[in-house]
Symmetry: C2
């Protein structure tokens, strides 16, 4: 009997098997493209698969990794409630017909003897991984400027955890291409900088935000929103679109733009973490939008922290 | 005309050319072995070439990199006077008949606009690289436990610089094997841990210390010793050998061992940076040598800081 579906992705759980698989594909003349995810996939993730295939421009083997990375969560954050649906994810990936393998390791870190909290960096901030000592995982990749500000201010271990796990995935999968969503704008910029600075031979794709019909940026965490919260959360995308329209019409003072967005979010019942107008590449704040900029927002609706952003290309 | 010598190494200065060269060797069925150095080569370095060849156990292409890495030097350290002799190095490598390529990039870091000191980590310590801002290099790999203590105490940016440049070299050369000298014991352990934690697909070789006939551990910095200082510096290896003999004879209290070594070095006119007795893998201090340990020494003789160590395997 032939396999049920030619496009059913191969499920790989072991690091060495993953690397060997990747090297075989490369030896066959295919590019290897990695789409790192934490699972509970939505159309945003699937668009990354398409983007990776398009970027390859030739024979390509796409690997989607599914791994909820503990080191990017602080103990106060939502690691325990992060949604998952492995069977559903596999079905969605199979339906694309474009995914050759799914890498879902049980754990990616060497653990030490538990119960010995290790003082972290970043002002003593610790991640959910740091319950170990002795011979445990202790190597961290940090992109020291870009990790500051925006989400880095309220999530001090986040980008350290992201950069480190992505470096690990890169070394395990050895891809030629990797695709990230611009919804996590700072993450995408952090990864681009890490790849440049550490000389990874990997082309990074930044893929446009995929939105629900009503404008809400797709996110695995949206599932935790009540109907009412979800309605209120539309204020994020609405305020961003209005801000861009205003900026392109000449109302380009960052402080005014930020004040307007904060007001809109708060009127809708959101609790603002930050609203910032920053340069697209350096993520440093700008006073006026007179160069390529991006407006970044993080806000809580109920118990859910949502992020979103909008790029603005100006010619003035 | 045929080339003068079949074993003359190819000199490669460009990152992309280096990676392409490496991939061609791999495609030919050879392992690629990397020996990272800062040049001014001595027999210790050449022994790393032999060790890499032996470890490959089959067809291998050996790459020796020569790059004085600014990011591992603090501004107060000896970057400016680090010795170099590129022509001599090439001759020595050619004479081995075992080196296929020499990678000597002009610079490995993206520099920003100068004159804007960037506050470093580790209590404000900065390296010779940190004269930049904006889009400059900002990604650092740190092995946060092993980088502490020993040389990390007096050289706070050293291991961050070493781990980062080695990660870069690994991503450029993409070796299967890399060889490091145990003379830089902490460095070797830091690299082993980094490779494990970041999942580099590289076998790390730790190669035994090569000594002059009189016992002095070979080091590029030895050239800066006066005849008198060089004679005095023999107290390092002599005191280490005596300590091991004593330990194997049951005198295994670390404090006594350390006191004896400090006394010997100071009597010889050395200025001790540290003498430590630590576990071989974790580098944590031990009170007694009742497990595999290593005695590590750093001391100044004149203006030259020398390091040395001796491993002790006990059965008790």
């Amino acid at each position: 009997m032939a396999p049920a579906a030619a496009h059913e992705p191969e499920v790989i759980r072991d690091k060495a098997a993953m690397r060997a698989w990747s090297r075989r594909r490369r030896a066959e003349g295919k590019a290897v493209a990695l789409v790192p995810t934490m699972g509970f996939l939505h159309e945003g993730h699937l668009s990354l698969v398409s983007a990776a295939v398009a970027a390859a421009g030739g024979p390509v083997a796409v690997v989607v990794s599914i791994y909820v990375n503990p080191s990017q969560f602080a103990p106060t954050e939502d690691l325990a409630t992060y949604p998952s649906d492995f069977a559903g994810d596999l079905g969605k990936l199979a339906a694309t017909g474009a995914v050759a393998a799914v890498f879902c390791p049980p754990d990616l870190y060497v653990r030490g003897s538990a119960g010995h909290p290790v003082a972290g960096v970043s002002g003593g901030a610790v991640s959910c991984l740091e319950d170990a000592c002795g011979h445990a995982h202790e190597t961290w990749v940090r992109v020291e400027q870009l990790e500051k500000g925006l989400c880095g201010s309220s999530r001090p271990v986040f980008f350290r955890g992201v950069a480190t796990v992505v470096a690990k995935l890169f070394n395990i999968v050895e891809p030629d291409i990797a695709a990230f969503g611009k919804k996590d704008y700072q993450q995408w910029r952090v990864i681009c900088r890490m790849v440049r600075d550490l000389d990874f031979a990997i082309k990074i794709i930044g893929s446009e935000i995929v939105r629900e019909a009503d404008g809400l940026a797709m996110s695995s965490r949206n599932v935790h929103l009540s109907c009412e919260e979800r309605e209120k959360a539309l204020s994020i995308s609405r305020s961003l679109v209005n801000a861009r329209t205003a900026a392109l019409n000449g109302n380009n003072h960052s402080q005014q733009i930020k004040d307007q967005i904060v007001q809109t979010l708060e009127e809708a019942g959101g609790q603002v973490d930050y609203v910032e107008v920053v340069e697209q590449e350096s993520l440093t704040p700008v006073k006026r939008i007179d160069r390529p900029a991006v407006i970044c927002v993080a806000a809580w609706f109920g118990k859910v922290r949502l992020i979103d952003n909008i790029e603005i290309q100006t010619t003035s």
